[in-house]
Amino acid sequence: MTMFNGINTSASALTSQRLRMDVVSSNIANADSTRGRMVDGEWEPYRRKMVAMEPKQDFKSHLNRAAITSENTGNGVQVSRIVDDQTPFKQVFQPEHPDANEEGYVELPNVDPLKEMVDMMSATRSYEANVTALDAHKNLLLKALEIGR
């Protein structure tokens, strides 16, 4: 349906930004989780997750780009995958902790609350921008209904 193309585009962005927000929430919620995953019988702390986004492509747009200079307007955005942040874990001296190693150090998740806050604000603003775009498109369609009234 070409009529609602713009709305679908914005909707795909809203979905993606909400997923980003969910991932940020998960990161902040697990900022102190020392038992995120079992690796070789040892507990590994929670790893910070990140969202990778890419433009939504269909066959037609690929063909268009190969055959001619003009492109189509695009189909929105999608999340291609959720990746793990490979930065090292934080080491905190806490001998009384049940997950402390022999030297008394506990490995904490590589979650940086500052980074998460920045990411959260970015997702919020992008979400708002897309709501505005969706609203604009909706208004255009409503205005089109007024033709001939």
Partner: protein, 136 residues
């Protein structure tokens, strides 16, 4: 004289479609504001020039309505063309979407669209008036 199918009405219709295409492009740019390596697109209205260029190029034939149209310079039916915006600064992640620019373009486009609809209504209202006068 054609009452409905005159050139002004067709022009208005073309312009409305073109404006909708531009809105789609802007929506897509805003949707991809956080996508790494995404390049912003723009819709250009270049009716006459592109038609002239189009005549000189080979066009693919469509024997079925469901075939994907291609060939020529990829002109859309309303005389618009979607191009990648290349004359702007790139972000650190290869993305060159400028939200402020997109938002102002969208505001302009909305007003433009509303104007076109108003003009269209104006024309229909004129016809209505004329029809109303005949009754005596």
């Amino acid at each position: 004289m054609e009452l409905f199918n005159n050139s002004t009405n067709q022009l208005l219709e073309t312009a409305l479609n073109a404006s909708m295409t531009r809105q789609n492009t802007i929506s897509n740019n805003i949707a991809n504001v956080d996508t790494p390596n995404y390049k912003a697109k723009k819709t250009v209205f270049s009716h006459e020039l592109e038609r002239a260029v189009d005549r000189a190029k080979l066009k693919a034939q469509q024997t079925d309505a469901r075939h994907i149209p291609f060939g020529g310079i990829g002109q859309m039916s309303d005389g618009t063309q979607v191009k990648t915006r290349t004359n702007t600064m790139y972000n650190h992640n290869g993305n060159n979407v400028d939200v402020d620019h997109e938002m102002s373009e969208m505001a302009k486009n909305q007003i433009y669209y509303n104007t076109l609809v108003d003009r269209m209504n104006g024309r229909f209202n004129s016809i209505k008036t004329v029809l109303g006068q005949g009754g005596g």
